[in-house]
Symmetry: C2
Subunit: 216 residues, 2 copies
C-alpha cells in the first residue's frame, strides 16, 4: 500500500487514532461495515468531521453502504505507522516511568517497552513486575542502538526534562513522549508529544458544570 | 457571567482546554491581544476551527484586532468550570496513582489532590513525597463527603476498574478519570473520561513514518 503522506494536523492524527480504537472494538464485535453516521454515534462525534478526516487519505466509503471496517482499519494502521513494531525506552524508573511500563493499553499493540533507564543504583539491574529491565542511564546510547529503540518516554521531573531530551536527541531519537508541563526547545526533525493531563481533568470539570446548569 | 451551556462535543472541550493552556502561556509572556491566525500558528491548528469553536460561546474577537487574551481566558475558565476548586481523590496508590498525585501539571491550577485510597495495609496511613495522605479505601464514602472530593481517578487495574467505578458512582461521584483500556458501563449523569496513552504514541509513530516518507 503506497500513499502520499501529506502534512496532517496533530489533532487530525489524534482523531484517526481514536477512530482506529473504535474500529478495533467493532471488529472484536463482528461488525464488518459501518456508515460515518454510525461511527460518529459510537464516538459521540460529528459525521462530517469523520468523512472530512478520512477523505484526506482516499476513498474508503461506498455511498449507502459505508466503510469496510477491515480495510479502513488496515489503512489507518498504515497511516499511523503502527503496522510495524515500535520499541519504547523509558527514562526514569519512578512512579511515572513504572506506570507507563506497566500500562495495560500496550497489550495487543505493536508497542513494546523494552527497557527503563535510571541513575539510582537502588533501581538499576532490577526489573518491573512484568520483567522489563531497569538499566543504567549511562548505557542509554548503547542500549538504544542494541534494542532498536525508536520512541523514548521522559519519565523525569520538569527540572531535568530539557537536558534529558537534549541527550536522547543527540543519540538520534526522533520521537519523544513527555508529561512535564513545560515549554521545550525541540530541534527540527524531532517530534515531542506532551501529554497534558489537565486537559482530561478540564473535560471532567466541564461535565460537572454542565450537569449543574442542566439541573439548575 | 451567565451563559448558556450547550451540549458541546468532547473534542471541542478538549480543544478549548488546549486554547486555554496557550492563552496562559501568552499571558505569562505579556501578550494581551491575539488574532485567531496567530493563535492557530502557536497551536499548529486551523484558524477557522478556532473561530468556530469560540463562536459557540459568544463574540470574543474584534475584527482586525483579534481576541483579548485576558477576557478569552476568563471565559474559557468559566466554561470549563475551572474558575472553581476541584478536589481530586485517587483510588489505588500504585505507580499510576502515585504518579498522578505527584503530577507537576497541577501546580498553579484549581485542581488539588486531597487523598489516595488503597486497601494495602503497607500503604495506608503513609503519605506521598508531597504529604498527600494514603487512606483506607474502606473510608472512601466518608472521606469523599468530608473533603468535598468531586473528581475520582481510577488508578487500579482494568480487572477491578468497573467494580471500583460502581462503588464511587454509588457514593455520588459524577466525574471519573480512567486509564484502563476497556469498555465501562457508565450510568447516565456520570462522566467517565478515559486517557488512552496509545493515542499519544500513535502520534509519535506517525511522525516517524512521515519523516521516512519525506526522506525516502
Amino acid at each position: 500500500m503506497v500513499m502520499k503522506v501529506e502534512k496532517i494536523s496533530e489533532l487530525t492524527i489524534d482523531r484517526l487514532s481514536v477512530y482506529l480504537r473504535c474500529l478495533d472494538f467493532l471488529t472484536n464485535n463482528g461488525v464488518k461495515q459501518i456508515s460515518s453516521q454510525e461511527l460518529a454515534a459510537q464516538l459521540n462525534l460529528n459525521s462530517a468531521q469523520i468523512r472530512k478526516d478520512l477523505a484526506q487519505f482516499g476513498e474508503f466509503g461506498v455511498r449507502g453502504v459505508g466503510y469496510s471496517v477491515g480495510k479502513l482499519r488496515d489503512c489507518l494502521k498504515h497511516i499511523l505507522g503502527i503496522d510495524r513494531l515500535h520499541k519504547i525506552g523509558i527514562i526514569g524508573a519512578g512512579n511515572l516511568g513504572m506506570a507507563i511500563a506497566e500500562y495495560e493499553g500496550f497489550f495487543g499493540t505493536n508497542y513494546s517497552v523494552v527497557a527503563l533507564f535510571d541513575s539510582d543504583i537502588e533501581k538499576i539491574n532490577k526489573t518491573t513486575k512484568r520483567g522489563i529491565p531497569i538499566l543504567d542511564v549511562k548505557d542509554l546510547a548503547e542500549e538504544i542502538k542494541k534494542s532498536s529503540i525508536d520512541i523514548i518516554v521522559l519519565g523525569v521531573p520538569a527540572s531535568v526534562a530539557q537536558s534529558v531530551l537534549d541527550q536522547v536527541v543527540a543519540i538520534g531519537i526522533k520521537a519523544v513522549l513527555n508529561f512535564a508541563p513545560m515549554q521545550f526547545y525541540v530541534p527540527e526533525g524531532v517530534k515531542l508529544k506532551t501529554v497534558d493531563l489537565t486537559v482530561s481533568f478540564d473535560s471532567l470539570s466541564h461535565s460537572l458544570v454542565a450537569n449543574e446548569h442542566e439541573i439548575g
